[in-house]
């Protein structure tokens, strides 16, 4: 079975970390742009900026190890003559461009006395917009790379890129909420602290919305492959359906733990108590962990099962 896993744990981890970077940047940029010049938005956006950069660098370090000839990787970047139809050509460029943007973006948060209204504010916002755009490209690329391959029926679905993208944004929001829960110290100014509490609820609400979208996407993914897909696709999806080799882990870890548990927790502790109490500490830790674990298992299952399944007949 494992003989066919030409793309294995390294690739999955790279795609996961890349998605985490894209998502963390998304959350950071959205907070920064939505928050006008509010300092609590700025502080939480900073967590996202750092997480995005760390995740994208960690993923980028893994990338060469996936290639058999990493020292020839430069060829990809110069392959304008033949690369325009290759998803990986675009992915390689998106990765360096997004990596550079997230580096400079994180830098603007780093210097001493950085604030929402310092002289870098304009540049920071421009970087935020650019990073949103290229992050979207990179986040979609991870799915498109797989979805474009007709020879891998489990991957060959228009829903897959959206699933990977939403999962990326979800894990970004989860990562930022996690850092916020761990590192935030109560502010002495009650007014400011009240706004910080709202940021916690805001992140939880985003996770709730994204998880809701993701639940619909998973449903569509399975439905399309099973009911409307080609014979190859409906044969392949059986591996994820009850009785299939990956069914238990997919539904238990990726769907229940990664999507449904966060929905339930975020709905009962986040939105419903908005404005009242801060998000309970354990919720701000457990929800992100569920999202992060579930997102990894989702990618693992789809990428590995996609290589085990194959076209039917001959």
């Amino acid at each position: 079975m494992t003989d066919h896993n030409f793309w294995g744990l390294l690739d999955i981890t790279y795609i996961y970390l890349g998605g985490l970077g894209v998502g963390a940047f998304f959350v950071s940029a959205m907070l920064l742009l939505l928050g006008r010049n509010d300092r609590t938005h700025f502080t939480v956006a900073r967590y996202g900026a750092f997480l995005a950069f760390v995740a994208i660098v960690a993923g980028g370090i893994l990338l060469p190890f996936e290639l058999e000839h990493p020292f020839r990787a430069w060829r990809v970047y110069l392959n304008f003559a033949h690369g325009l139809r290759s998803p990986m050509f675009y992915g390689a460029w998106f990765l360096v461009i997004f990596g550079a943007i997230s580096f400079f973006y994180a830098l603007t948060f780093m210097r001493r006395g950085a604030s929402a209204e310092d002289d870098l504010a304009r540049g920071r916002k421009v970087l935020a917009w650019l990073g949103l755009a290229f992050g979207l490209c990179l986040g979609l690329y991870y799915g498109v790379l797989h979805a474009s391959l007709a020879a891998r029926p489990l991957w060959h679905s228009p829903v897959l890129p959206l699933m990977f993208l939403v999962s990326a944004y979800m894990s970004g929001a989860a990562g930022v909420l996690f850092l916020f829960a761990i590192f935030h110290r109560k502010n002495s100014d009650a007014e400011v602290e009240k706004r910080f509490v709202r940021r916690g609820h805001q992140l939880l609400a985003w996770i709730l919305i994204l998880a809701g979208i993701q639940a619909v996407l998973v449903f569509l993914y399975v439905l399309f492959a099973n009911a409307f897909g080609s014979g190859d696709q409906s044969a392949a999806i059986q591996i994820l359906l009850p009785g299939g080799a990956f069914a238990t882990q997919f539904w238990l870890w990726a769907v229940v733990l990664g999507i449904l548990v966060p929905i339930v927790l975020a709905a009962s502790f986040g939105v419903s108590r908005a404005e009242r109490a801060p998000v309970p500490w354990w919720v701000a830790v457990v929800v992100p962990l569920c999202v992060l674990i579930g997102g990894y298992v989702m990618r693992y299952d789809i990428i590995i099962a996609g290589q085990i399944t194959h076209p039917m007949g001959l």
Partner: protein
């Protein structure tokens, strides 16, 4: 013979320059040309195809061995193999063989996915090749082939597959597997030459290609092939067993 063959330069630059094709044709002419490649001297574009007459194949695996020896393909991998299809319920049972190799598709899905341009379809003869000096081993093309023809060569650390024995056919010889087949189940030639044996066979026989639904337009044609898949027993309510002699026993 093999020692006197120099491996042809399959880099894209060389053939785009136009020089390689001419040199290759010259070399072939000097060697007196081959039976199947009478058009080599002309310099006209070729359209190499293989016709496999499955009715003649009795699963002796001579092609598998010849191909393996020709390229020292690493243990566990194959550029070519023969599948065995056993089906039916007693007493109505059949057993047939299906030789497999790269189809050198006219619309090869393995080519556009390559981020380096290392794999490409040659203009002059339609052979789909991999430039081992350019390939980074990203494995995209391996994932993209609907025929599971590509593998990662652990010696070169690049993608690898059948190349229609370029080094032989460019010198007017037959591919190693064709030469080795004792029952002449494999016939190789130029489809652009209306008098070639392959043209004649394709014109006068009912031929089929594998997985036509993928729109790949394969250049390996089969006569009398059994296309039964391992899952067809659901539809036919009969015993079906498909075996390959690769490391992975199941057909993909």
């Amino acid at each position: 013979m093999k020692d006197s063959n120099s491996k042809p330069d399959i880099s894209r630059r060389a053939f785009l320059g136009g020089g390689a094709a001419v040199t290759g044709a010259g070399a072939a002419a000097a060697l007196g040309g081959g039976v199947a490649n009478s058009a080599v001297e002309g310099g006209a574009k070729k359209h190499y195809v293989m016709v496999i007459d499955a009715r003649r194949c009795y699963g002796v695996q001579a092609c598998t061995v010849a191909c393996k020896a020709e390229y020292k393909v690493p243990l566990g991998e194959n550029r070519s193999w023969v599948e065995e299809i056993e089906k039916g319920n007693y007493p109505n049972v059949t057993r047939s063989f299906l030789p497999r190799l790269c189809n050198h598709c006219d619309e090869p899905p393995c080519v556009p996915v390559c981020p380096t341009g290392a794999t490409f379809k040659r203009d002059e003869d339609g052979i789909v090749v991999i430039d081992k000096d350019v390939c980074i081993g990203c494995k995209s093309c391996i994932q993209a082939c609907p025929y599971d023809q590509r593998f990662l060569n652990e010696d070169t650390h690049t993608a690898d597959k059948c190349d229609f024995c370029i080094h032989r056919v460019s010198q007017g010889l037959q591919p190693a597997c064709v030469e080795a087949c004792p029952s002449r189940a494999r016939i190789f030639g130029d489809l652009n030459d209306p008098d070639s044996e392959v043209s004649r066979l394709i014109a006068t026989n009912k031929v089929s290609v594998l997985r036509p639904g993928y729109g790949t337009e394969p250049n390996v044609y089969y006569i009398g092939a059994d296309h039964t898949g391992e899952n067809d027993h659901y539809a036919e309510f009969s015993y079906v067993d498909v075996k390959t002699n690769r490391r992975f026993a199941e057909r993909r």
